[in-house]
Symmetry: C2
Subunit: 115 residues, 2 copies
């Protein structure tokens, strides 16, 4: 009964900032915390909260390290994260394609349970 593509979206992945984190980290070996913060226009606290959600779901790994003498926090997408992002993008591609070939709505066209 719940056939609409948006039912298949996972809110952990779909939230726009987390979708941003996953698409950036999917495209590089690892991304630095400060880079993500600037690119996504987030506060440090906000980015940290989204990273925690993603890390607890097993979609990214967060690692503290150094670049020269400066402490750095690195974020990497996991295999599970890549799979979750691929699933999300599959649904988004369906929604985008649906737009390109819309239904034939007419003046009398209604969506109701009895229709």
């Amino acid at each position: 009964v719940t056939e609409h593509p948006t039912n298949w979206l996972d809110e952990i992945v779909h939230q726009r900032h987390r979708l941003g984190i996953l698409t950036i980290t999917a495209d590089a070996k690892q991304a630095e915390f400060g880079y993500l913060r600037e690119t996504l226009g987030l506060t440090a606290g906000n980015l940290s909260r989204h990273l925690t959600v993603l890390e607890e779901a097993g979609l990214v790994e967060v690692e503290k390290g150094y670049k020269g003498r400066r402490p750095r926090t690195w974020v990497r997408i996991t295999r599970l994260g890549r799979a979750a992002l691929a699933a999300e993008l599959d649904v988004l591609a369906r929604l985008v394609r649906k737009r390109s070939s819309p239904g034939h709505a007419t003046e009398s066209d209604e969506r109701s349970p009895e229709a």
Copy 2:
């Protein structure tokens, strides 16, 4: 500085159930409350809350009426709603295209502010 496509997503439209409501109502003259509830797998309370958010943003209109003797609630997308949905789908199309032509991530590829 905040160049990532996900920065352009509007959370009112991007939330998955509201995206569902807008895509369904964009494709028909009007949709009945019960049809939306069943198709999106929502409780009545949850659907009502999402409709209130969309209505307050001017993206849908909600109208009580009758079908025969039965009371019915109809939902229609507004012109502003169509524009907001189109903007959302434009960003989603960019994200989907990005996947088709990913960057050339190598073993040494890192994203950091100094890079």
